[in-house]
């Protein structure tokens, strides 16, 4: 196995594009190294992107933030601007692994690992975040929703790297939240994850909403019906119930060791409801 740690993006793209055999990008490595050590993958080339300066930055841009692909969860969690604008995305990212893992793990890595149970992805989807992708054919931006195509599968082409995640600007009186359910208190894989982002008008009525669920389908879901039942309400009991019903209805989970279809479907509704309550509270300020 060949290990390379280029200092420029161009060099990284060139290495990946020219690779013979399987190639992997290493950011935090919190998934990749585990897969390597367990023998689950045997790549011929590993390209470490942590030496590329521009990928290690959080940059204010158009009222939002661009998060470099090599920014760790710990660094994100200490960025007051991102925490103020997208607290739900930050709390979701901070749920990945443990304190030690937080020092390495990245949002972009969590996205590209393409697990349906990834913690930061529902929050990014609810935030309508964009992934910037650089490859042999240049630069393109795509919705984070379109990066994972199935468990462990992505839409990235040969030589392409996700270089940053863009969290957009948002109106005042907005808030987001992420909740996950695990049988333990930390360091576990989500049985269900739910993220909700809302914007309210001056009266506290919801004018925009996005609802996203993790671990209940082959990909992270965007639940349009969940958003529809929130918009125009002040999150009364009827709206909460309708949201829970919409979230549960959107689920198509599997039975596995972590949870059954029935449990995941029901708890998805519960978590969506609770995440919406927190998002509304944050939006009210």
């Amino acid at each position: 196995m060949q290990y390379e740690a280029p200092q420029t993006l161009d060099a990284a793209v060139a290495l990946l594009a020219d690779a013979r055999g399987a190639a992997r990008v290493l950011a935090g490595g919190t998934d990749l190294l585990v897969q390597l050590r367990s023998g689950a993958i045997e790549p011929d080339l590993v390209v470490d992107i942590k030496r590329i300066d521009e990928l290690k930055k959080i940059t204010a841009e158009d009222g939002g933030y661009r998060i470099g692909a090599a920014v760790s969860g710990a660094e994100l969690g200490e960025h007051e601007g991102v925490r103020a604008l997208w607290p739900g995305v930050v709390e979701a990212t901070e749920l990945i692994g443990s304190t030690q893992v937080q020092g390495r793990a990245t949002m972009a890595g969590n996205l590209c690992n393409a697990s349906p149970a990834a913690d930061s992805v529902p929050a990014m989807v609810a935030a309508d975040a964009t992934a910037r992708i650089v490859g042999p054919d240049g630069v393109r931006d795509t919705s984070v929703r379109d990066v994972a195509t199935g468990p462990g599968q992505t839409s990235l082409g040969r030589g392409e790297i996700v270089v940053s995640i863009f969290l957009p600007a948002r109106p005042a009186r907005s808030g987001d939240a992420y909740l996950r359910f695990i049988p333990r208190t930390e360091m576990d894989i989500a049985v269900v994850g739910a993220a909700v982002s809302v914007s309210l008008d001056d009266e506290g009525t919801c004018v925009a909403a996005r609802v996203s669920l993790g671990a209940v389908a082959a990909r992270v879901l965007l639940v349009d019906e969940g958003a529809r039942v929130l918009i125009g309400t002040k999150l009364d009991d009827d709206a909460l119930q309708a949201l829970a019903a919409a979230a549960s209805a959107a689920c198509s989970p599997i039975n596995d060791k972590r949870g059954t279809i029935e449990f995941r479907t029901d708890v998805a509704g519960v978590l969506a409801r609770r995440a919406a309550q927190t998002a509304f509270e944050r939006a009210k300020g």
Binding site: F181, P183, R184, T185, E186, M187, D188, I189, K257, G259, T260, F263, D266, V267, V270
Partner: protein, 796 residues
């Protein structure tokens, strides 16, 4: 804790007040909260665990394990493995069985096993033609490095013809179940009966109420922080086999392997253990790998090491508990217990492990009935084989199962009869001691109700209704769970402990017991310091080497302080008496004039005095001693248990249940223990807490799961087998009731090691079920995972 002494908070205060943090100011006697002196070594990475030890010319072993729960071995091809780089030896079943070794022994001489029912098939270190559980060793590969051994192990090709498997304990005794040992005609290992069946039946017939409860004591995995590991050595010149092991019973292992497996004299085998990172019983036993590394060392002439991977531990270390029980309680119109009937199927796994048969029988009936007056008890056990890892002793071994049965049954009785769980316990506690239990033992002393009330006060039982209302206002269901447990200290009944006076003015404790992290180095030294006045830092400690210590009972059944500590106290007292006789001679005084204090013998009313170490030198160097004076103070003391002692106590848990997700939040937990005399409250409280956390884990998180049909192990890593973590548990205040001293041993201790794991499971389950009571839920089996609780609420 109100009403109790030596609560750990208080103990810590005591330590601080007495200046235990400042050198030179410490007090080290019995009862002092002395900080564990071994911890500096453990916490700074200076411990010497099996994998830290250096062996010249070392090779490494890897085990080829069965991927099937039940299969016939059709072929074994080791050609590629033998040709692989770095391979030193490949031990196949053909090679193994050519040695003429005997099977691995298991204890079956148990009073109560019904004659003619025992089916004890031979178990060998490698599978003999048939594999009977996933993970069973088939071939052992030895190579220059661990990775070469693992790589070569993958090149061994074993052909299997799969056979139907059974992993479901409740159905393994059914007539149409696949046979694991077909020649016996069923999967029954043996039947066991204890107690007066007719008397119990008569009591049930006359009783106002019959409370019936079907429950499962879930299968768990011990998972010490240091996985098992062994290094085998062979000295061709002397013919000595040596096993270096992360273990806790070196003498028993040597005796069993020498006599039963290798068929050699015990003197030609040495078993030695360095520091051990937890054992919980599971490291007591003779495992296939222990034999394989010694055989491989003999065949290759080089030391051979095998260290278990964490995931491998799930496949190769004994599992525990795993009982299916129907328990019935006869109760009179006033809520008093009349009789208890227990009918258990106990999982042995695919074969009998060393102490496996003892756990559900001899180690369980002793505490059956718990802390209550139950005039009649009958117990019936069917030990059964399944295509699973063998089951053996783990922290508590049989007594947690008995405590769980009784404490769940008492709550079920309260549920059925509409009596408060607190009240029904108060009506039934043993209050007159000694109390003769119907199955034969006599509880010498205790203060069961006093201990219970102290725990109830500590958790604030009176204010619970208010806290429950507050939880309900937050949409949570709150419950409180009581568990008044009875424990019995078991393990090897006798011990020898040497106090050896060294030439550098120190004294070494040579212990036949074995600490796997419990703090013996500190507690034992406290006993010696108290008795002999020897400075604490001049007391050394050695254990775990059959070449250095003649006999030893190892650790098990919470025996070490009771049996080992008492033996040590006897040794120290003998040293004092020998010293007195020597002082009479050396100081030329009358025996009546000799006083002993602070390590000095003095002649009353004079300034003539001599210290113990000075005295030792004097007698050693003296040419002609009278017959009354021994030539050394070095002494081996002995003690044998004549009567059992009964640690007991009360755990109370308070939980919140999230009714929408089934998530259980453990909010508060108190422990009140009667361990008899407390030698070191810090260590005793640590034992209580550590055990409780393991019991809490069993109740909420842990469960070994095999897939029905295939017999594959679902829970093969710590990802899928959930151990409790620090944030699973709240603070665990511990108080000690020392109001009922025991005279069953000279030290006056009752044992502490297993009590936590015995008391905790029922406290948690009773608390969760108390929370679910308004929803009509009467019983759930452990572990109380969120989904299980959620499903019960859905149906309730």
């Amino acid at each position: 804790m109100p009403g109790l002494t030596n609560s750990p908070g208080a103990a810590i205060d005591v330590a601080r007040k007495q200046g235990n943090t400042r050198p030179g100011m410490e007090k080290f006697g019995i009862g002092q909260a002395v900080r564990r002196r071994e911890d500096e070594r453990f916490l700074t990475g200076a411990g010497r665990y099996i994998d830290d030890q250096h062996f010249a010319n070392l090779t490494h072993g890897a085990v080829v394990r069965s991927p099937h729960a039940h299969a016939r071995i059709v072929s074994i091809d080791t050609g590629e493995a033998e040709a692989a780089p770095g391979v030193v030896a490949v031990i196949t079943p053909d090679v193994y069985f050519a040695q003429g070794f005997g099977p691995i022994p298991a204890m079956t001489a148990i009073d109560g096993i019904v004659e003619g029912t025992l089916n004890h098939p031979p178990r060998h270190a490698l599978a003999d033609a048939t594999v009977r559980y996933v993970g069973e060793p088939v071939v052992f590969v030895v190579a220059e490095t661990k990775f070469k051994a693992l790589a070569a192990a993958e090149l061994v090709t074993v052909g299997y013809e799969e056979l139907p498997a059974v992993v479901d304990l409740a159905h393994t005794l059914d007539a149409d179940s696949p046979m694991i040992w077909p020649e016996a005609g069923s999967n029954l290992a043996f039947r066991f009966e204890k107690g007066d069946a007719a008397g119990v039946e008569a009591a049930f017939e006359g009783a106002a109420h019959r409370v019936t409860l079907d429950l499962v004591n879930n299968r768990i995995a011990p998972m010490a922080i240091e996985p098992r590991g062994v290094v085998g050595e062979y000295d061709a010149e002397s013919g000595t086999l040596t096993l270096n092991v992360s273990g806790q019973a070196v003498h028993a292992q040597r005796n069993q392997m020498a006599a039963a497996v290798f068929k050699v004299e015990p003197d030609s085998m040495r078993v030695v253990a360095g520091d051990v990172g937890g054992g919980f019983g599971a490291k007591n036993f003779v495992y296939p790998e222990n034999i394989l590394v010694m055989l491989a060392a003999k065949l290759t002439g080089r030391p051979v090491k095998w260290i278990s991977e964490r995931s491998e531990a799930f496949l190769s270390e004994v599992h525990a508990r795993d009982h299916v029980t129907r328990a019935e309680l006869a109760v009179d119109a006033e809520g008093r217990f009349l009789a208890l009937s227990v009918d258990t199927i106990a999982n042995m796994g695919s074969c009998l492990s060393t102490m496996g048969p003892v756990v559900p029988t001899a180690a369980s009936w002793v505490s059956m009935g718990g802390t209550y007056v139950v005039p009649n008890i009958h117990m019936s056990v069917r030990a059964a084989y399944t295509n699973t890892m063998p089951v053996d002793a783990y922290r508590g071994a049989g007594r947690p199962e008995a405590a769980y049965i009784m404490e769940r049954l008492v709550d079920a009785a309260a549920f059925d009869l509409g009596i408060d769980p607190v009240e029904i316990r108060r009506r039934n506690f043993v209050r007159d001691y000694p109390y003769s239990m119907p199955l034969g033992l006599t509880i010498d002393c205790g203060d069961f109700s006093g201990t219970f009330e102290a725990a109830a006060e500590a958790i604030g039982l009176d204010g619970f209704d208010g806290r429950r209302a507050a939880s309900e206002a937050r949409g949570r269901a709150r419950g409180i769970g009581l568990s008044s447990y009875l424990e019995v200290t078991l393990g090897m009944p006798s011990e020898a402990m040497e106090l050896r006076f060294e030439s550098d003015d120190t004294v070494t404790i040579l212990a036949g017991t074995h600490s796997t992290g419990q703090g013996h180095e500190t507690a034992y030294a406290q006993i010696v310091h108290e008795t002999l006045g020897v400075p604490f830092d001049r007391i050394g400690f050695r254990q775990g080497d059959t070449a250095a210590i003649a006999v030893g009972g190892g650790h098990g059944g919470s025996r070490s302080l009771k049996i080992g500590g008492s033996t040590l106290l006897r040794s120290a007292q003998s040293v004092r008496e020998k010293g007195r006789a020597a002082a009479v001679h050396i100081l030329d005084a009358a025996a009546d004039d000799i006083e002993f204090a602070d390590g000095l013998f003095a002649v009353r009313g004079t300034n003539r005095r001599i210290g113990l170490f000075e005295l030792e030198r004097a007698v050693r160097e003296a040419g002609d001693l009278p017959e009354t004076v021994a030539p050394t103070l070095t002494t081996v003391g002995r003690f044998e248990r004549e009567r059992h002692s009964f640690p007991n106590g009360c755990h109370i848990a308070e939980v919140d249940v999230d009714p929408e997700t089934g998530d259980v939040d453990l909010l508060a937990y108190v422990i009140a223990d009667d361990f008899g005399r407390i030698v070191n409250p810090l260590i005793a409280a640590g034992q209580a807490r550590g055990g409780a956390v393991q019991g809490i884990g069993q109740a909420l998180l842990e469960g070994v799961v095999y897939e029905p049909g295939s017999g594959q192990l679902f829970t093969g890593s710590l990802m899928d087998y959930a151990l409790p973590r620090a944030d699973t548990v709240p603070d665990l205040p511990v108080g000690f009731n020392e109001a009922a001293p025991t005279d069953t041993n000279p030290l006056g201790v009752k044992g502490a090691g297993e009590a936590g794991a015995t008391g905790a499971p029922a406290a948690i389950v009773n608390a969760v079920l108390d929370a679910l009571k308004p929803h009509g839920v009467r019983h759930l089996d452990m572990p109380l995972t969120p989904e299980k609780v959620w499903r019960a609420l859905l149906q309730g």
